[in-house]
Symmetry: C2
Subunit: 120 residues, 2 copies
């Protein structure tokens, strides 16, 4: 079972903390849609290695395209398409100037431990 | 069957047009979550009547709160919460200065006929 599925079994009080981790800077749709892939990548290293971060970011776009094209739910497919378009505009994985001037890699790096701490 | 469900049975070529109707200014999550309620309101009149538009907008927020609180899917509940927060900041149904300077009522008014034209 992915870490993401385990998190969704937490009590409501803790799930509210998870809610706050995800916004337009890092949509929860990506976390859910790519759960297994995200959890199998080395974000700790990528957070300090720009070339690796660039590769991971490119792979993330490919994974998103794969998952979106297979998604049967119209609403989720639509939301993934919007997220894909936003990410494709901001090609820099370290300094995502849009939306919200946040780093995708940094976000992924920070959120893993935060989610884990909620489970403990 | 709601008009929204019928629309999702259109062929992919036409569904792509529906995709373009929905963005951050009017998230598809609202259209889907409140489908029956939206389709039973008089948006034509509200588009030219500010007091009625204000009532409909307030009712839309209440409906969104009702649907969100009953939603079992964690991701959809989370997305609805974010949309609710955005809408509560922009209290004017005619001039929604955020996000995107669009009128909710105008959007609802315009999208109904557009969706219908895709079905014909």
């Amino acid at each position: 079972m992915s870490q993401w599925k385990q998190i969704q079994q937490l009590e409501i009080r803790l799930l509210e903390h998870v809610d706050y981790l995800y916004d337009d800077n890092f949509p929860m749709d990506i976390r859910q849609g790519l759960a297994s892939w995200i959890e199998s990548q080395d974000w700790d290293t990528a957070a300090n290695d720009e070339s690796m971060a660039t590769v991971l970011f490119t792979n993330l776009l490919s994974q998103l395209e794969r998952v979106r094209s297979q998604e049967q739910n119209f609403l989720q497919r639509h939301n993934m398409k919007i997220i894909q378009q936003q990410l494709q505009v901001c090609q820099n994985p370290f300094i995502l100037s849009c939306p919200g001037n946040e780093s995708m890699t940094k976000k992924l790096f920070e959120q893993g431990p935060l989610e884990k701490s909620l489970q403990n």
